[in-house]
Amino acid sequence: MSERSPNGPPNLETLIAFAAGELAGMEAEIVRRHVASHPEDARIAAFYARVHQTARADDGCEPSQTALSRARAIFKPLAPSNRPSWLNAASQIIANLLFDSRVQAASLRSAVSEERINLTFEAGGMEIDIQADRIEAQGERRWRLIGQVDDFSNSRDFAGSPIVVTRLETDEMIKESILDEGGSFLVEIPQGRFALKIGMTGTVVAVSPLELE
């Protein structure tokens, strides 16, 4: 395979043949001794072996054209024109989940209805309670969300604050509403994974993910 000079150092072709395991007998032994005392050539041989073995171990597979097409179709220009401008607020607070009745349901399954989910979130001194009831509307299973935003300090007035529900996967806005004078809201949404966003002065509070399958 190689045309290495018998007395000279192995060239790149020979080093690679060695790394590929193609040399045998005395030829392999000579190169083995050479790389043992020449770290830079040892690295070249080791790198070839690594790349070669990496490629050989690659058991991955290509996605179908259908899967690729779906993935390409997810993209759409950002910030579509129908998005409310308050969603572009400089700061965003992600609400922390404090309570999820589904977690409790694992140990108290008989006592908790799977048709109702209670969630409590905390964000920036506010508590957001959401009761999700599964309903049937026009032959479709949906969720009715009844929520309330409470301010721990009682210093903020939430009346008229805008809220939107967006699909988690696509950021598509599917519901818009406002908080009433008590900080409450009511929206109906389909099953899926969502983000609920509430517009405060200069801030967006995001309840995400909101998984209602």
Binding site: L12, A46, V51, D58, R70, A71, I74, P77
Partner: protein, 193 residues
């Protein structure tokens, strides 16, 4: 011309569909392979694939400085596999569950191996031309190094495969080095062919 991940992400943020397509093309195999390795069906793997790209789209605004996109994609895909796979009773008690000692992330050695495989494939794409064809044939296609088969497939004399492989690997090594794959082969640049 090869665009870096941050360049592609920024182009996506600017609303360019072609950049998004390039991103999906670049990482499609890496993402799709994970659910299949975990034993998910083609249908579930398709769902994982769509969910991961939906997450990428949603997080585009946070990806500006995301230089470690591949490891982030691997972690995201791992979590989506768990989310989708755990709902399917067919996977209960199967090999599927063995991949989730940590639901948050796959083992480090897996992440490293998959990232390296991805880089090698991307490096070969970047190499292009006859060199890509030759190294792909030598690395991936033949079950063993079968020079006669490679010679017949590519129409090159058997005697020229070794020298050409050396020249091509030198170029590939430089590309992989630029992509961050160690070891640094700067010494190889001065190695006579």
């Amino acid at each position: 011309m090869h665009q870096s991940d941050p360049q592609l992400v920024q182009a996506c943020q600017a609303g360019r569909q072609d950049a998004w397509n390039a991103l999906v093309e670049r990482y499609g195999r890496l993402v799709y392979s994970i659910p299949r390795r975990y034993g998910l069906s083609e249908s579930d793997a398709d769902d994982v694939f769509a969910a991961v790209w939906a997450t990428v789209f949603r997080k585009l605004g946070e990806l500006r400085d995301q230089l470690r996109l591949s490891s982030w994609l691997i972690t995201t895909t791992h979590r989506e596999c768990w989310r989708i796979g755990r709902r399917n009773a067919a996977y209960k008690g199967s090999d599927f569950e063995s991949h989730f000692a940590d639901v948050g992330s796959p083992a480090d050695d897996k992440v490293e191996a998959w990232e390296t495989q991805h880089l090698v494939r991307e490096g070969l794409k970047e190499l292009g031309g006859r060199c890509q064809e030759l190294l792909t044939a030598l690395f991936f296609d033949a079950a063993r190094q079968d020079y006669e088969a490679v010679s017949a497939k590519l129409g090159v004399p058997i005697g020229s495969i070794g020298p050409t492989r050396a020249r091509c690997f030198k170029k590939l090594a430089a590309i992989l080095r630029d992509m961050g794959l160690e070891p640094d082969l700067s010494e190889a640049a001065g190695k006579p062919d």
